[in-house]
């Protein structure tokens, strides 16, 4: 299938990227080629095959519903952010 400029801009939005003109250009080319490659799967007949989403052989690993001791404290986690005020993370205005 053909990937248009609008498709790249749309995928950029879905991915939360502010893409430059130059990037849109190079991504158009690269992503078209990658999609062309993965589209060869079309020729494989998968009728009646169940999908596999994980290859872990176990199901329903339960644990008791107790709050476990955490490896990191609130202070340690807040120390990782750029701006913090009154134990909250500060970001630019939302609206």
């Amino acid at each position: 299938m053909e990937i248009k400029r609008e498709d790249i801009i749309h995928l950029g939005k879905l991915s939360n990227f502010d893409l430059s003109e130059k990037e849109i250009e190079s991504l158009s080319k690269d992503i078209s080629e990658i999609i062309k490659y993965i589209s060869q799967l079309d020729e494989l007949n998968t009728d009646g095959v169940e999908p596999t989403y994980q290859v872990f052989e176990m199901e329903n690993v339960w644990r008791s519903d107790e709050i476990l001791e955490q490896d990191a404290s609130m202070e340690q986690l807040l120390a990782l952010t750029k701006e913090e005020k009154d134990n909250q993370i500060k970001v630019p205005k939302v609206l």
Partner: protein
């Protein structure tokens, strides 16, 4: 590997490793070196030894940590700009287990940012050079770890393998590289790439070292509910001197499907599978020749060579480059500059903070994968790509199951060619993806694979081969690798 004792001190081992790391600085292997911390740990172990106290099985062994493992020593950057300055308050379970046995991390190694790549050229910190030829790539994504072991800087290094990121750099640098059974080693505290494919493994110089590391690091972890119950150490094969085929096994697969061998018979006829679908011009002639030589060696040792047809493997790479980016898009949506790591300076509101941080913080290959992932998951394309790939994944896993009814292990190339030149494939994503042609199907099926060194080509570059075993047969796989060691 050398373990510290009364005569060879941990301090000596660590100092040697640090000196070698400095000596090979131009290979760009490390993103961080912790001289002070490593020497302090070494001194503690030496004190214990001097006092006659018990020390761990890896006492004083210097190792290198791929920079996508969290540890409180040094920032965990995954060689990505967006994680710059990210000092983890937690430590990965695998790291904890190695260090509880006395292993000493001397530094963190370079990788393709977020482990996206097959050459370490996608690192924010520049490429790592091949241990055998500085004009060539170290492979990837765990290029730094592979080169650190190949240049004998450290005794072992950690890696992550989502589609070949341990096995391909191991083969490019002539060392052993194990991608264990999915769920064998805890992923807790390791930067997630594609959660249904990600495996934690190691680079070593010998199969014996690999066995030791697996016995230390593998097993159930309450912090990662996708870890399997401890099969590696409780496997009845442990300490069993009988040939692999005649040993009892916890689960079906290799041992049970092997031909019945009379007790006491010295060499049972173990069957080694060769995948016919990989024997074509796509694979370098010298690699195919090496594979044939190893088959002859095995035949002379009494093994039977079985030809396998696995037609679905042809689609494994396409399947992988649908499922993996889909999981990448999901896992990497958390990096937005808010809670940790890099935050763009030029943001007026929250939306532009996300957009600018992600645009400036990700490498081009990260962006390609996230966008492809969002493409295959988007409505209108989900059935044709993601669902179709998930179905094809079933076919691939089934083909491995069937193959292991006919043989005990499979021997294949690791990658289509030996280490390629720096810059050769960096602007051609599909050419780079083709590097993973013969390694990705193992991750899709969850089976273990071990890259083993198998000599060098005429140009002097290492050639590696890949051994594959049924799930949970990791120990038998490592054991069998000894049979293929160069004389």
């Amino acid at each position: 590997m050398k373990i510290a004792n009364k005569t060879v001190t941990a301090t000596r081992l660590v100092k040697d490793a640090l000196e070698k790391a400095k000596h090979f600085a131009d290979y760009n292997i490390f993103t961080f070196i912790d001289e002070e911390g490593a020497l302090k740990k070494a001194a503690e172990i030496d004190d214990k030894i001097a006092r006659g106290e018990k020390v761990g099985r890896l006492a004083g062994v210097p190792y290198a940590l791929k920079d996508n493992f969290m540890s409180t020593r040094g920032d965990t950057t995954a060689s990505a700009h967006i994680l710059e300055g990210c000092a983890s308050p937690i430590t990965a379970t695998a790291v904890e287990r190695l260090e509880n046995e006395g292993a000493i991390m001397i530094g963190r190694t370079n990788l393709d940012a977020f482990a996206h790549g097959s050459s370490t050229e996608n690192s924010y910190y520049g490429p790592t050079l091949n241990a055998y030829d500085k004009t060539r790539v170290a492979g990837g994504s765990s290029g730094g770890s592979a080169a650190a072991v190949a240049l004998d800087i450290v005794e072992f290094a950690t890696g992550t393998d989502t589609g070949g990121s341990i096995r391909q750099p191991a083969s490019f640098n002539g060392v052993y590289g194990l991608k264990p059974t999915y769920g064998a080693v805890s992923r807790y505290g390791v930067v997630a790439m594609a959660s249904s494919l990600d495996c934690i493994g190691f680079f070593t110089k010998t199969p014996e070292d690999m066995d030791l590391l697996m016995s230390v690091a593998s097993g159930r972890d309450p912090k990662d509910l996708t870890t399997l119950p401890d099969f590696y150490n409780t496997n009845p094969q442990l300490g069993d001197s009988r040939p692999v085929a005649s040993r009892p096994s916890l689960r079906g697969s290799a041992a049970q499907s092997a031909p019945v061998v009379a007790e006491g018979l010295e060499s049972p006829k173990l069957r080694i599978g060769i995948i016919k679908d990989f024997d074509n011009d796509v694979v370098d002639a010298e690699i195919r020749e090496t594979l044939k030589d190893k088959c002859e060696l095995l035949k002379s040792k009494g093994y039977e060579i079985v030809e396998l047809e696995m037609p679905s493997l042809k689609y494994a790479l396409a399947v992988y480059y649908i499922i993996q980016p889909a999981e990448v898009a999901s896992n990497l949506s958390r990096y937005d500059g808010v809670r940790y790591g890099f935050r763009s300076e030029k943001s007026g509101d929250l939306d532009s903070l996300y957009g600018n941080t992600r645009s400036e913080g990700f490498m081009p290959e990260n962006k390609r994968r996230i966008m492809i992932g969002n493409f295959v998951l988007s409505s209108g394309f989900f059935d044709a790509y993601f669902l179709k790939a998930a179905k094809a994944r079933t076919m691939i896993a089934d083909e491995y199951k069937k193959a292991f009814e006919k043989c005990d292990f499979i021997l294949t190339p690791v990658s289509p060619s030996p280490a390629f030149k720096l810059g050769e494939k960096v602007n051609d994503p599909v050419a780079m993806y083709l590097e993973d042609l013969m390694s990705v199907s193992l991750n899709l099926a969850g089976v273990p694979g071990l890259a083993i060194p198998a000599g060098r080509n005429k140009a002097g570059l290492p050639i590696g081969l890949q051994l594959v075993a049924p799930r949970r047969q990791d120990k038998a796989l490592i054991e069998f690798a000894k049979e293929l060691q160069d004389e």
